[in-house]
């Protein structure tokens, strides 16, 4: 019933010249998304992936279990000296992420261009 979560990793460079690892998600972000959300993140080399950018452009549904996976990632990122940012959330999920406080630990941007320009 839940749409399978797909994840893809892209390596980009910000206009300021910093390497940025982009995790692009597609489908639902829910309790069944652990491998796609956390597993893909955990497979990144911690030493070189210091800036992590989450792409939610193709995500339609995020529930509280999915939010918990994002928080789990933020915990691991904080412990690894990584910084996490996100873009592509709908206005509703931007509001939800703000309500639960994720924006305190992960900067949100409207799109990839805006995000890269800030990194």
């Amino acid at each position: 019933m839940q749409t399978e979560t797909k994840a893809r990793v892209d390596q980009l460079t910000s206009p300021a010249g910093h390497p940025v690892t982009v995790l692009r998600y597609e489908g639902d972000i829910a309790s069944t998304s652990k491998d796609a959300v956390l597993g893909t993140y955990q497979a990144l080399p911690k030493q070189t992936s210091k800036l992590v950018l989450l792409d939610f452009t193709k995500v339609d549904y995020i529930n509280s279990s999915g939010i918990a996976l994002v928080i789990q990632m933020l915990i691991e990122a904080a412990n690894s000296g990584q910084k996490v940012y996100a873009f592509g959330l709908s206005p509703h999920f931007t509001k939800v992420f703000t309500m639960v406080g994720i924006t305190k630990y992960a900067g949100l941007f409207a799109g990839q261009t805006e995000a890269l320009a800030a990194l």
Binding site: I71, V100, G101, K104, Y105
Partner: protein
């Protein structure tokens, strides 16, 4: 005052909350709710159903979750009914700092979101330890945040 009711019965299986979510969205759109309020309702209904499936019916697929949507004038009431004993106490408001520092479970956002996104939310224990429900109300004239 004219009341219109729609009922949905869901299996206690994760993912089926999306059926209730879509039904609630369809009813809210028919009533004239704005898109942002429809999105608030969808998340609140989804979280209420997830709680009913996981904590109320303990993922027992032999039990179903009832969802009753009743529109009265400018308000839409949603009752999500399960076979659990109901809540003893409402959990405290989640604290992102405690979660990030490992002092609080990363989970536990669902009830907070429900309360934050609708105009009224109450959890009612069923008699004889069954048929507990959460009742949500969202009003048509609520100004967008």
């Amino acid at each position: 005052m004219k009341t219109t009711s729609v009922e949905v019965r869901l299996p206690s299986r994760m993912g089926y909350e999306k059926v209730a979510m879509s039904t609630a969205a369809a009813v809210a759109k028919l009533m004239g709710f704005k898109e942002d309020r429809v999105e608030d309702l969808k998340t609140a209904v989804a979280e209420a159903c997830i709680n009913a499936i996981e904590h109320g019916n303990l993922l027992n697929e032999g039990l179903s979750v009832g969802v009753v949507l009743s529109s009265v004038d400018d308000a839409l009431e949603v009752k999500v009914i399960d076979d659990g004993k109901g809540l003893k106490n409402l959990p405290p408001k989640p604290d992102i700092d405690k979660k990030i520092h490992g002092e609080e479970d990363p989970r536990g956002m669902g009830m907070f979101l429900i309360q934050a996104l609708v105009d009224e939310a109450e959890w009612v224990k069923g008699s004889n330890g069954k048929s507990s429900y959460v009742r949500l109300v969202i009003r048509l004239d609520k100004e967008a945040d």
